[in-house]
Point group: C5
Chain length 341, copies 5
C-alpha cells in the first residue's frame, strides 16, 4: 500500500541549483524529495503563506508563491512558473556562481541561497510598494482638492481598491518580519540555520580570525529584517496619510455643504420676503372693491411698498443670519455684491 500511496503523492516541478550554479529541471514526487533531502513528509506541506524553518538537513522556505528548499549542497525552487520567477532564478545563479561583490561570497552554499531568496523577496516587496505608494498619493491629491464640492466617486472606488492592496501588502511584509524575528529571537534557531556547521560540527570554533558563521547568519537576517522594517514604516505612513486625507475630505464636503446651505437659507429668505409682500399685490389683484381703484397714486404707492418692503425685510433677515451664523471672511455675501458690480 505504501507504494501506491507514494504513487498518488503530489508532484513538484523542481529546479535544482548545485553549488556551482548549474541548473537541473525535473519533476519529483513529494516522498522522493523528502527522502533525498532527509526531510519529513510534513515539512513539505507548505500550509502557511510564509515559512522559514530550519530542519536538520535543510531550510524550508515559502514566501507567498515562492517555495524553496535550501540544503548545504543545493537549492531547490519548487513549483516555479517561468515568467514570474525568472528574476529569482537569475539571481540565484549569480550568487551561486560566485559574485565577488556579494557579502556571502566566501560562505557556505546555504548562505548564498538564503541571501538570494530573502533579498529577492524583500526587493520585490519594495518594488510593489514603489508602485503602490505614488498611485495612492496621486488619488489622494485628487480627492483632497479643496475647491471641489463633491468627490469623484470613481476615484473613491480606486482608493478602496488600493487600500485593499495595501492591507494585503502589509500582511505580507508583517509575515516576512515575523518569520525573521522568530529566528533572530532565539540563538538556537540562528545556529540551526547554519546547516554546514551543524553537519561538520564546527559551530563556534575558528572564531579567532573572522566572524563565525552564526554571526554572519545573524547579520544576513538582520539586514533583511531592517529593510523589511523600513517598508513596514513606509506602509504605516501611507495608511496614516490615507486616514488623515479622508478626514480632510469629510471636512471639505461638510464645509462646502454648509456654504451651500447658507446660500440656500439666504435665497429662501429672499423668496419668503417676496412671497409676503407679493401677497399685497395679489390682494389688490382680486376682483373686489378696494376703493383705491381710481386713485392715480395708489398703484405707485402699493408697488413701492411691495418692492421696498420686500427689500428691507430681506436685508433684515440677512443681517440676522449674518449675526447668528457668521460666515468666514472669504464667503460673505458682500463679496458677491462687490464682485458683481
Amino acid at each position: 500500500p505504501d507504494k501506491k500511496l507514494a504513487a498518488s503523492a503530489p508532484i513538484f516541478r523542481a529546479v535544482k541549483f548545485c553549488a556551482d550554479g548549474r541548473q537541473e529541471r525535473f519533476d519529483i514526487r513529494k516522498p522522493a524529495l523528502c527522502q533525498e533531502l532527509g526531510l519529513q513528509v510534513r515539512d513539505l506541506r507548505f500550509q502557511q503563506q510564509t515559512i522559514l524553518q530550519p530542519r536538520d538537513t535543510a531550510i524550508i522556505i515559502r514566501m507567498e508563491e515562492i517555495k524553496a528548499i535550501v540544503s548545504p549542497d543545493c537549492v531547490y525552487i519548487l513549483d516555479h512558473e517561468e515568467p514570474r520567477d525568472k528574476v529569482l532564478l537569475g539571481e540565484l545563479q549569480t550568487q551561486l556562481e560566485g559574485d565577488n561583490s556579494s557579502p556571502v561570497a566566501h560562505l557556505p552554499l546555504e548562505f548564498k541561497g538564503l541571501e538570494a531568496i530573502l533579498n529577492y523577496r524583500i526587493s520585490s516587496l519594495k518594488q510593489e510598494l514603489d508602485v503602490l505608494e505614488p498611485a495612492i498619493l496621486q488619488v489622494l491629491t485628487d480627492l483632497v482638492e479643496p475647491s471641489f464640492m463633491s468627490v469623484d466617486r470613481s476615484k473613491l472606488r480606486v482608493l478602496l481598491q488600493y487600500r485593499k492592496s495595501l492591507t494585503e501588502f502589509q500582511t505580507d511584509v508583517k509575515d516576512y518580519v515575523e518569520v525573521l524575528t522568530d529566528i533572530l529571537d532565539y540563538d538556537d534557531s540562528i545556529e540551526e540555520m547554519c546547516l554546514t556547521d551543524k553537519i561538520t560540527n564546527t559551530m563556534a570554533t575558528s572564531k579567532s580570525d573572522h566572524l563565525s558563521h552564526v554571526d554572519e547568519m545573524e547579520l544576513l537576517l538582520e539586514n533583511c529584517l531592517g529593510r523589511a522594517e523600513d517598508i513596514v514604516n513606509r506602509v504605516a505612513e501611507v495608511k496614516d496619510l490615507i486616514e488623515d486625507s479622508e478626514q480632510i475630505i469629510f471636512m471639505n464636503l461638510d464645509s462646502h455643504r454648509n456654504v451651500m446651505m447658507r446660500l440656500n437659507v439666504q435665497l429662501t429668505m429672499g423668496t419668503f420676503s417676496i412671497a409676503l409682500f407679493g401677497m399685497l399685490g395679489t390682494a389688490f389683484g382680486m376682483n373686489l372693491l378696494s376703493s383705491f381703484e381710481e386713485d392715480p397714486k395708489a398703484f405707485w404707492i402699493v408697488t413701492g411698498v411691495m418692492f421696498t418692503g420686500c427689500g428691507l425685510l430681506w436685508r433684515r433677515l440677512l443681517w440676522f443670519l449674518g449675526r447668528e451664523v457668521p460666515p468666514n471672511r472669504k464667503w460673505s455675501w458682500k463679496n458677491f455684491k462687490s464682485s458683481g458690480q
Copy 2:
C-alpha cells in the same frame, strides 16, 4: 455522603476511541471518568470556551462545542452530538487506524488524537471563514457601488450581522492561537504534552536516529498555530476592508448629498429670480391705475423685462455659485444643457 454525591454528579455521553480505532459509546459519571483517567474533578469542569491543558495522565481539550480527553491509551469525545461531530469522529478513526500518509503515523496515540482534533478544529474554522469572507465581500461590493445615492438599508443590517459573526469568529481563532501559544512558549509544557514519554520516562533519549517526541509535538503544534495565524491575518484583512468600505460609503453618500444640494441651490436661485420678477407682473395685475393700461407696447415691455430680467439674474446667481462652489468637471450644469439640447 460521597456515594450520594457521586450519584448526583453530571453524566457525560462519551465516545471512547482505543488505540486501534475501535469505538465504544457509553454514558459515564464525572467522578467515574476522573478515576478511570487519574484526573482531578476540577479538570473536567470545562468552564472556559477553549482549553488545551496537559495533566499527568491525559490532555484535556475543549474547543467550543468539542470536549475531548486524550490519554496515552485512548481518546474520549464527550457530549458529542451526532450530525455535528460526525466528521471529527471519522477523522479520529482514520488517524487511529493508521493512515500512513499522516505525519504522526509512527507516533504514540496522543499525537494521533491531538492531530485529529486540532486539525479538525482549524479546518472547520477555515471552512467557516471560507463561507463568511465571500459573503461579506459581496455585501460590501453592493454597498460601495458609487452611482447609488442611498444605500440599501436591508443590506446594512446583513452587514452588521456579518460583522458580529466575524468578531465572534475572531475571538474563537484568537482563543485557539492563545492556547497553542501558551503551550509552545514553555518547553516544559511541550514536554508535558508527550504523555507516553512521561510515563515511560524516555524523554530526550533515543534522539540519535530521528526527531525526539518533544520535537515532533512542537512541530505538530507549530503547524496548527501557523495555519491559525494565516486565518487571523485573513480576518484582520476583512475587518480592515469593512472599515475602509464604510468610509468610502460615507464619502459616497456625502458626495451625492452635496451634488443634490448644489442642484437644489441652483433651482432655488431660479425660483428666487422668478419670484422677484414675477412680482412685477403681480404689481401690474393689481386693479389700480398704472397709467400704462392703454399703452399697446407696455404689455410686451413688462413681459419682456420679467422674463429677461429673471433669466439674467439667474445666470448671474449661477455664475456666482460656480465661482464660489466650483463643481467637479463631471457634474457641471453645462453638462445638462449640452446634453439636453
Copy 3:
C-alpha cells in the same frame, strides 16, 4: 504617644471565619489586627481597587467593595455590608465547613478562602455582564432598525449609560485579570500564596502521591483567570458590536437623508417649473393690453402652454436628476407613480 495613635486608628468591622466555618463578628482597630496577623500597617491601607498580595503570614485581598484577609488559620472579611455580602459569607461558610464536591476540600484553609472569594468575585462579574449584555443588545436592535429615519434619542442616552457601565465593568475585569497574572507570571509568587507550606516548610516535598500544593494553587488561579478571560472576550465582542452598530446607524441616517434630499430636489424641480410657466399666466393677468384679450382661443392656448410646458420641463429635469444621481432600485420615483395609480 503610640497608644494615642493606636486609639485614633480606623476601626474595621470584621467577620472572622475559623477553619471549621464558625463565624465571629467584632470591631477591631487596624493596629490590633496587624499585630494579630503579623502584618505591617501599610498592608491594610487598601489604597487600590483590586489587590491580591501574599504576605508572610496572610494573603491580602481587595476586590472593589470586598476586603478580605486570608491567613492559614482563618479568613477575615472587613467592612462587610449585610445584604450585599450575604452570598459571599454563605459561600465562605460552605467551603470551610467542607464541601466534598469542591476541588479544594482536601487542601489547607487558605485554598478554601481563596476559592470562595475569587470564585464569588468572578461569578458576580459574570452575573453583571449577563444582565448588561442583553440590555445593550436590545437597545442596539432598536436603534439599527433600518426603516426609521431618525433614532429615538432617549435610547441614545440609555446606550451612553450602558457604554459607561461597560467601560467600568471592563476595568474591573482587567484589574482582576491583572492581579492574577501578576501572581501566575512568577513561580515565587505562587509559592508565596501557599501560606501553610511556607510555615511548615514542606514546599515541594510529598510530591510523589499527588499534586503539590503549589500546583494546586496554580490550577486554582488559572481556572479563575480562564473564566475572567472569557468575560474579557465577551466584553470586547459587545464593544465591537456597539461600534459596528453605530456605524450602521450613521449610514442609515445618512441614507435616509439622501432619500429625503432627493425627494426634495424633485419637488423643488416641480415648483420651479410651475413658477416659470406660472409667470406666463401672471403676465397675461396684468392690466395691460396684450391684444389677445378678445381672442377666444388665446385662453386655452396659453393655459395649455402653461400646464404642458410645466409638465415637460419637470419631466426633463427629473430625467436629468435620474441620470446624474441614479436612485436605488427600490427608491425610484416610478415606484411612486405605479403604486399611486
Copy 4:
C-alpha cells in the same frame, strides 16, 4: 579654565533637609553640589520630564516641576518655588521628624524622602484628576442633552481644552508609571535604591526578624505604582466616555437633522401642491376669454377644485413619504394634527 567654567555653571536654589527634619536654604552651583553628593555633572542635567534614577550615593528625582536629590543623609529640593511647593516641603518635614503612623518611620532616611516625594506627586496627580473629571462629566452631560438640536459651541471649545489637559495629564501619569516600572522590573535596580544598605553593605542580611530593606523598598514603590495605575484606569475611562459621548452627540445632531429634513419635505410637498393648483387660479386670472366669465357657479367650482385638489395631492404625497420614509412613532405628523386640534 576649570575655575572659570565652574563660575559660569548654573546655580540651584536648594532646600536641604537633614535627617532630623531641619531645613537649610541656600544657593549652590552645580559643580559644588555634584562634589558634595559624589555625583557626575551629567546626573544634574534634568533633561527629561520625569526621572527616578538611583546613583551610587543618591537618588535623582524629577517629577515635572519638582527636582529633588535623596541621599542617605539628607534630601535636597532644587529650584523650588514657594507657594507651589509648600505642601511638599511640609510633608517632607513631617516624614523626617518621625511620623509614627508612617509605614517608613523605622527605615533609613532615603525611604522617608522617597515616600514623601512620590506620595506627594501621586496625591497631586489624583487631586488634579479629581478636579478635571467632574468638570468634563458636566460638559458632556450638557452636550449630550438629547432634546437640543444644536450644541452649544462654546462648550465644544471648553471640551477641547479639557481633552488637551486630559491628554497631558495622561502623559504625566504614564511617565510616573514608567519610571516606577523601570525600577521594579529589575531586582538590581531596587537594590540600588537602598542607598544606606549599599554603603554599609548590609544588603540581604538581618532578614530573620523582619522584612529586609529591599522588600520594604519594593513595597513602597509598588504601593505608589498601584495608586498610579488606578489613576491610569480612571483616565482611560474618562477618555472612553468622551469618545462615546461624541458619537452620541453626532447621532443626536444627525437625527435632529433628519427630523427637520422630513418636516421640510412635508412642507415642500404642500407648497408644491399649492403652486400646482394655484396655477389654475392664475390661468383664470388672465385677461383672456375663458367663456366662463359669466357662469355664476364657475368661481365656486374652480376655487373648490383648487383647494380640494391641492389638499388631496398633498395628502397623497404625505402618504407616499410616510410609506417610503416611515417616521419614528414619536415624530409622526399625525401627532401634530391631533395635538393641534
Copy 5:
C-alpha cells in the same frame, strides 16, 4: 577581476576627525574604507534609514541623512553636505578638542563621537518639533473657531501637510528610540559599544574608583533615549489634539448646519402659509363671478383673512417646530424678534 570590482565601487566623500579634533577631507572607495577600518563590505551598505550597530572595530551609524563611522581612533562622517551638516561637524570638533563641561570629556574617543552625533540628532529632531508643533496648534486654533459655519479649506490642506510631516517625524523618532533600545536591552550590546575596552580587554576592571566605561555608555544612551521619549510623548499629544480638534470641527459644522436647517424650516413654514392663504387672493383674482364683486367690505375681509390666517398658521407651525425640535437657548427665534425691535 577584484581590482576592477574595487575600481567600480562607490566613492564616499568623507570627513575624518582624529582624536585631537583635526579634520581631514578626502574621497575614498568603499573597499578601501572597509580595509582601513577592518569592516566587512556589507557593513557599509547603509540600506536602512536608521542604524546604530557596533562592529568589532567600529560603530556604524546612520540617522537619515547622516552617515558616520566611529572607531576608537577617529570619527568618519560620510557623504556630508556642507550647509546642512555644518553644525554637526562643529559639534564633533568641539567634543573632540576636549570640552571640559562635557560629561564625556574624560572618556575614550568613541564616547565623544557618539555623544556628538546622537545629541546632534536628538537636538535637531527637537528643533524640528519646536517648529512644527506651534504651527499645527495655530492652524487648529483657526479651524476650531466656533463662530464660523464653514472651515477655511486652504487651511485644511495645510493641516493635512502638517499631519504628513508629523507622521514622518514620528517614524524618525521611533526609529531613533528603537535603535537605542535594541542596544540597551542587551548588556552584551552595550559592552560591544565600548570599542576601546574591547581592544584593550579592560572591560569591567578598574571599577573601584569610578563608573566603568560600560556604565558610562549606558548612561549616555539612556540619556539620549529619555530625551527621545519626551519627544515621542509630545508628538503623541499633538496627534491626539489634532484628532480631538477634528471631532470638534465636525460637531461645529454639524451644529451650524442644524441651526441653518432650522432657520430654513421656519422660513419654509412661512412660505407655505403665505402660499396657502395667497391662493385665496388668486381665487378672487380670477375673472369669474364670485358675487362679492360689489361688496365694499369684501376686499378688506378677504385681505384680512389672507394676512391674519397666514400669520396664525405660521405661528402654529413655529410652535409645533419649537415643541418637537427645541432650540438651544441662544438660538431661539424669539431672540431675533426681540433684538429686531
